[in-house]
Amino acid sequence: MKMEEKFEPKIVAFLCKWCSSAGSDLAGVSRLKYPPNVVPITVMCSGSVSPNYIFSAFKKGADGVLVSGCHPGDCHYMKGNYYARRRITLVKELLDFIGIEPQRFHMSWVSAAEGAKFTEIISDFVKELEPLGPQNKLRSNL
């Protein structure tokens, strides 16, 4: 009898190089355990994440998308994360409006020292996504 395969959600995480990506590295070197479901994409700053990237990630089959940057006031480029915050607010509302489960898209502030926070965010994200099953709404149907 074939065991039913457990759904392993795939998360695309856009992490700013200076904080969040460093934070995820810290989680790694500190041997903190977090689910292996993340495809990390390092970007220069959360402010450089175009909504295009987010929609594309969903189109390419992401079950969830995370945008993560430095805490307010800590952005390496001073203001990038403030811009990101505005933009992401709108993306979030838009996705919700067209009927994408709000649990599928998150933004977080993770500093280079917050390996533990990163671990927690990912674990929670995975737990949220599991009951939803695969994201097929925006997935490419070419």
Binding site: P51, N52, R86, L90, D96, F97, I98, G99, M107, L142
Partner: protein, 343 residues
Amino acid sequence: MVTLEELKDNCRQILKEGKVKYIIGYKRKNGQYMTVPAFLDRIEEVDHLVWDPSCIYNLVRYLRDEKMRKEKEKEPDTRPVGVIVKGCDSRAVNILIQENYITRDDVYIIGVSCEKSGIVDEKKLTKKFAGKDIRKLDFAGNGKIQVTCGTKNSVVPAEEILADRCIECTIPTPIVFDVLFGEKTDREVPDPFKTIKELESFDTTRKWEFWKEEMDKCIRCYACRSVCPMCYCDECVADSISLAVKPDTTAEEKAHKIRWVEKSPVISENFNYHLIRAMHLAGRCVDCGECDRVCPVDIPLRYLNRKMEKESLDHFGYTAGMEPEKPTLVSCFREDDPEEFIL
């Protein structure tokens, strides 16, 4: 009320003085009650100018053509172009100025106030007057529109035939102009975001079902983008012009070029196009409703933009096109912008 004769006189005057290169306005569509855009460069042509509830177009769209034309000319005529704008259209001009696409000196703005009325939704009109020979529409003042069918006039409350956007419009008077016709009117709108209320109240599944069906219809004619005064990008992510494909471009090379949106009109690509467009219009859309009007398959595009407008207002207190000297919605921030949603 706007007096057409005064409007015409002004147009004749500025053409005569050579103050403007030409005037973008409205004229009757060949023997019909609806209008088409008119480009008036001779004084005699002003005779054909029309201002009535059939003036549906947002003529600000044509400032883009003017700019492109000017860029090609060796010795361009740098005089401003006259453009007739309604309340919503005037905010579109403001945004073009705000974004440094044009300067205030590039346009001579002839404002007309919609006052308590607005422009019609042709579908509502022809439904209401089905089988009747509609000849002419007129503003009848005080939120009424006169519809002439054959030789009979009937005066109806404007909201019965107005475009949805006009029913929800709170700024019917141009906010930027060189001359203004009609009264500055404040309008109490009980619920300016009524259109999207119902949809917002749906659960996730129903919302998705709704949009999936709508997006499935899109034929990617790009009329929505083409008619939009804000869609002035030379290269749109929905196009592939930026990707030069030469005879010696290999399959591998092509495969690695980023194409955000494929040309195929399938649901995923249609969504991608419309989501990108909605995002790019956030804080820029003035709800002139043109995309919604032109869509040949009746996709309610206005809903997407209206949603973005509502969120811009709710979260950031921002209304598009009000203050051209200030930064645009997404090119600024406040330190205390809401962030409850951030983990």
